[in-house]
């Protein structure tokens, strides 16, 4: 109906300048002259997939330590310097990536570059600070443990992966957080934090010549590190039959998590899997960092489970990962609804899409939402830099655009075919959280 009202003029990738310093730091510059700010991001090709048992959570802990000073930066200076200018800064760690950013007034680009160059080269990992941060990170983990959905997700990933590091949570296992040493962390930092394992993105209002020269000045002296192959030596063995896990814990509601194995995002089936995911659970962008209370309601799972009075919430998470991962669904069940009946309803929808391809109206909604969300999830220079850098780390900055452009050409029959290929009983992992009365 409305395919023609959404044109294809959204041009995130137009006008990006790329260069690589001699030490291997890849730099992408995207000018947005209308902006009054500039956003500097640096993406390291390290995340929980680069960890080992015993030091799980090291990547995330390193991220915290990079706010603790070293070189010309004192403890807390990053926040103070950025705050002084009215800027914003933060960082995040995920399975495949660790990223840092500063968004500042447009004349303060140098500050963002200075912070990131010091972080890359000179973070101190002071022993006292490592100890102080240990409890902070354990507290972060314990805060998450208060949520049933977190516990279900953690169990599902741990059950799904027997060898691959996606098995543990990004924050790490608590025992590892209690025992990891300062040297473990510093070794992790030195191994992964160097220019040839990083991508810098600058987006906003700046003079590109001056920016290039400042980047050269601040980063070119940092030596290259050992080349780290992006491939890791963990190949998950095949799954033969459904895996399931049950949690019985005090609580007020029951929860259900269901995951299916899907290939890496660069796999040729990914565009069709995106459409499948959207038809089943709606679409809210590829990266999903954009905060919006919008709840897609035309999708099959919403209609069956929420309109069917079984669940109050159904969330679908489409993975954008380097390695094969999980298409993940979590359901918050209505009071008194048992996980057994929710499972039956959920699986009947999965069976339906395996049996019958999506209707034209479902494809229309999916395509229009996908096209629109390219713009929505790139609102402002910070999110644009994030999108460019995130995709560049995974494969190429063109990845998101290519995925969406390919996805909107997918036919209903192809969606049905990938549903049959990937949404099978033998490749699913089910997590049930049954609330029990406290003290029972």
């Amino acid at each position: 109906m409305t395919a023609n009202v959404l044109n294809d003029s959204f041009q995130l990738l137009e006008g990006i300048q790329e260069f690589t310093l001699e030490n291997g730091l890849k730099v992408l510059l995207k000018q947005v002259p209308s902006s009054s700010a500039v956003s500097t991001w640096i993406f390291y090709k390290v995340g929980s997939r680069n960890e080992k048992l015993g030091t799980t959570g090291a990547s995330h802990w390193c991220e915290h330590m990079l706010f603790k000073g070293g070189g010309k930066l004192g403890k807390g200076d990053v926040h103070t310097l950025v705050s002084n200018e009215g800027g914003r800064n933060n960082a995040f760690t995920d399975h495949d990536i660790t990223a840092y950013y500063e968004t500042l007034p447009k004349d303060k680009l140098d500050l963002g570059l200075f912070i990131e160059s010091e972080r890359m080269a000179n973070s101190a990992f002071d022993s006292g600070e490592v100890e102080s941060e240990r409890q902070v990170i354990i507290s972060e983990r314990e805060g998450s443990e208060n949520y049933p959905q977190y516990l279900v997700r953690e169990e599902i990933f741990a059950t799904a992966f027997h060898q691959h590091p996606y098995m543990w949570p990004v924050v790490g296992w608590k025992n590892d957080l209690k025992n990891m040493s300062r040297d473990d962390l510093y070794h992790h930092y030195r191994h992964f934090y160097h220019p040839n394992n990083a991508i810098m993105v600058v987006c906003g209002s700046f003079d590109p010549e001056r920016a290039s020269s400042e980047i050269e000045k601040m980063f070119s002296k940092i030596p290259s590190g050992e080349k780290i192959p992006d491939k890791i030596h963990f190949h998950e063995p095949p799954q033969f039959g459904e895996r399931s896990v049950k949690l019985e814990k005090a609580g007020t509601l029951n929860y259900l998590g269901v995951a299916y194995r899907v290939p890496e995002i660069t796999h040729e089936d990914s565009p069709a899997l995106m459409v499948l995911s959207a038809v089943l659970g709606g679409w809210r962008g590829l990266i999903g960092f954009f905060g919006d209370r919008f709840v897609p309601r035309t999708n099959r799972l919403y209609k069956r489970l929420v309109d069917g009075d079984i669940a109050s919430e159904v969330n679908t998470y489409f993975p954008v990962n380097v390695d094969p991962s999980l298409l993940y669904f979590d359901l918050t069940l209505n009071p008194a609804v048992k996980t057994k009946s929710a499972k039956e309803a959920f699986f009947s929808e999965i069976d339906r899409i395996r049996d019958v391809p999506p209707a034209e109206s479902e494809m229309n909604v999916t395509f229009n939402q996908m096209k629109a969300w390219r713009a929505y999830e790139n609102d402002g220079i910070s999110l644009q830099a994030l999108s460019i850098g995130y995709m560049e780390r995974i494969k190429s900055r063109r990845l998101a655009e290519t995925l969406v452009q390919t996805a909107i050409q997918v036919t209903p029959e192809v969606v049905q075919a990938v549903a049959r290929r990937y949404l099978s009983e033998s490749s699913r992992i089910v997590g049930e959280y049954d609330s029990v009365t406290e003290g029972a």
Binding site: F10, S83, I137, I138, N146, T332, S361, Q369
Partner: protein, 427 residues
């Protein structure tokens, strides 16, 4: 700070439109109607919530399914969200479908028809959320604190989701009545930013909303009880790992003269950088909590101030000590000039950066209209901040946040007896 080209239009029936045109192919809308939980009456707590959830679930001319289908087919988003004062709505779309989206928003706000089956579903959804809140330490600490500060059944003190028994008793007639009394055009604000044509936008808004009259009689007011004694309470949740602490008090309305000193002091105490002074003390120095921050919510009739922290049960006393150290400091000593200047620069810079994204920009437009800040607010803002002195901040904090005015709520694996001693006569 960059100047925004703002246009304001108030229609005969009171609908207010605030807009900012920028060269951009998308549109962001942020709106509200003053028909939030404050309009709930005794015995029907939850009506505002239930009505807000039913706006998109069937109107005189569209079914719930048709509304969802139209919005999503247009590549648009739309959501309504009940709060304590108003029901907010937000939408995003491409400029080419703005008219269609405005028509749907108008249809939802003016002509909901509350189908029985949809009432059952929306009610169950709310009941489920209330049950989820009861198992959420952060929610429970905040809700309990609001009760302690404002009183259990006061508009700012109660859960805007409503009361379970009231929700169960609400009928279609009650909901339609609530809508008729409270959904009035002179309570509606629409803020829009993006690449629209201004004349076409004005005409469209007029076409959609001008036939709507102010015939309702619902009250929109709240006289905040001035005297609620500080208290403390634990919500025991043995099965949880972490305790959430919430310490706070009644604060100021957005229109109060004390608002700007309060907001700058709050920034310094618990927000600037990584949670301000509280973050430095509780997180950085003591290593006790992932989050420890303060918040100021200044509303139309009053507001609240709170400090929030998530800590291991063994560290509750130490974290409380750290929090009160900082509260004592900010209520007894002048903020050094340099720190105040940093806070001011941060406020200005942060507002400027917010204007870079359409979603944040439109939220600021909405706030300007909602709080009656004036069309020149963004230009006046630097001088407003400039005038705030350390002395004013000290006086304001002494007036509202003195330790003997604070209530404390905690949720998690601890009992009332295990609540820490607060450093003055609360115990």
């Amino acid at each position: 700070m960059g100047r925004l080209d703002l246009q304001r239009e108030e229609y005969e029936n009171g609908v207010a439109l605030l807009s900012n045109r920028v060269d951009c192919e998308t549109i962001a809308i942020s709106g509200s109607i003053k028909a939030g939980a404050i309009c709930d009456t005794h015995g029907s707590f939850g009506a505002a919530e239930l009505v807000s959830r039913l706006l998109m679930r069937g109107t005189k001319s569209l079914t719930a399914g048709q509304i969802a289908q139209r919005i999503e087919e247009l590549g648009a988003t739309l959501s309504f969200d009940n709060r304590d004062e108003s029901v907010g709505f937000s939408s995003r779309c491409y400029y080419g479908v703005l008219d269609n989206v405005l028509e749907i928003i108008g249809e939802c706000l003016i002509h909901p028809n509350f189908p029985e089956q949809e009432i059952v579903l929306a009610r169950n959804e709310i009941l489920s959320e209330i049950r989820a809140e009861e198992d959420d330490t952060r929610s429970m600490a905040s809700l309990r604190l609001a009760e302690l500060v404002f009183g259990r059944y006061a508009p700012y003190g109660r859960d805007s989701l409503g009361k379970i028994e009231d929700l169960k008793a609400l009928t279609r007639h009650n909901l339609a009545d609530f809508h008729e009394r409270n959904y009035l055009p002179n309570r509606l604000i629409i803020a829009i930013t993006g690449g629209y044509d201004y004349d076409a936008l004005r005409t469209k808004i007029s076409k959609v909303f001008s036939g709507w009259s102010n015939s309702g009689t619902g009250k929109f007011s709240y006289r905040v009880d001035p005297e609620v004694s500080p208290q403390k309470a634990a919500v025991e949740m043995k099965h949880k790992t972490q305790v959430d602490l919430a310490i706070g008090t009644k604060a100021v309305a957005r229109s109060s003269h004390d608002y700007y000193p309060f907001t700058l002091g709050n920034l310094i105490l618990g927000r600037l950088g990584l949670y301000g002074r509280l973050g430095k003390n509780v997180r950085e120095r003591r290593g006790l909590a992932y989050y420890s921050y303060s918040a100021l919510q200044a509303k139309l009739f009053s507001g609240w101030f709170g400090v929030f922290a998530g800590v291991n049960p063994a560290n509750v006393a130490k974290a409380t000590e750290g929090i009160f150290e900082e509260i004592s400091k900010i209520t007894s000593k002048l903020i050094p000039l340099k720190e105040l200047e940093t806070a001011k620069r941060n406020s200005l810079g942060s507002l400027s950066i917010s204007l870079d994204t359409s979603v944040e920009r439109v939220a600021i437009l909405h706030e300007i209209e909602y709080n009656g800040l004036g069309m020149d607010f963004l230009e006046r803002y630097p001088s407003i901040l400039e005038r705030v002195s350390s002395e004013e901040i000290l006086t304001t904090f002494q007036k509202y946040v003195a330790p003997d005015k604070l209530s404390m709520a905690a949720a998690g694996p601890l009992t009332n007896k295990e609540l820490p001693t607060m450093p003055r006569a609360l115990n």
